[in-house]
């Protein structure tokens, strides 16, 4: 795709996330896009991202769902404000709650597709559901409660 991913718009200071930060050279650097009213991310696990033999590591699946959801939340929030992701101020979301149901083992060696759906936008909160599929077969589903980053968090660390 030629279009920029949601994550390409994150301000540099927020682009260090191991899952989705374009500036984290050790990380997954996932990329999420609109596809109609849904969002989509495609990712090829490394051969060592294994769980039981032949299956993708569940922690990676949780990570993909998590970061695709926070990216989706950001994109949805811009859309709700009627502005594009390259406008100011930037909107960035973190995860308040993550729930993943593992429906079946996810085969390794296959590109995974994670599709996100926006369930709710309310104030600083966006709820996103996601389905992770391999070869068109849903293997895991998730629900993520995302909240817009509160500035005061940084001073607490």
């Amino acid at each position: 795709m030629n279009e920029k991913a949601f994550q390409d718009f994150y301000p540099d200071s927020y682009a260090q996330c191991y899952g989705c930060g374009r500036l984290n050279q050790h990380g997954h650097q996932i990329k999420s896009y609109w596809d109609g009213e849904e969002t989509v991310c495609r990712f090829m696990p490394k051969p060592y991202h294994t769980a039981i033999p032949g299956a993708v590591y569940g922690g990676l699946i949780a990570s993909l769902i998590d970061c695709h959801a926070t990216g989706t939340a950001a994109a949805a929030a811009y859309k709700a404000e009627g502005r594009s992701m390259d406008t100011q101020p930037p909107l960035r979301f973190v995860t308040a709650s993550l729930k993943v149901d593992y429906l079946k083992p996810t085969p390794i060696g296959v590109e995974l597709e994670i599709r996100g759906t926006i369930r709710e936008i309310k104030g600083r909160k966006v709820v996103v559901s996601a389905v992770l599929s391999a070869r068109g077969v849903p293997c895991a589903k998730g629900e993520v409660v995302c909240v817009q980053v509160p500035e005061e968090w940084f001073s607490r660390l």
Copy 2:
């Protein structure tokens, strides 16, 4: 500690997990132990396991809770059968469902402690709750439904 971790007893063929497999050289290789009726795992994130600046990546937190819980489930299952983890047949668990609530940003650069509590053992299912703390302060809590690995899964992959 001199005692062996739960993960040290996993059969070689199940010890490739990115989160907890002692044979996965790319992975986290977490180690879990009994501490009274609870279980404990300590883990030092890498500097690049970041989320927002200064905070640990939520996907790593989910991964640590996940693998510590499946290890706890295995240990609990052996205990329920009144036998040690070096006896046959081996018991190995995977995750059916993972729920993580992120209570506050988890500071990076600090050893994390994950404590597991067994909530339920019923047939092939073990439910484990976990609290992840940094400097004694809970930063995330999780609940994990673990199920004993069904042999027929392998032929489906």
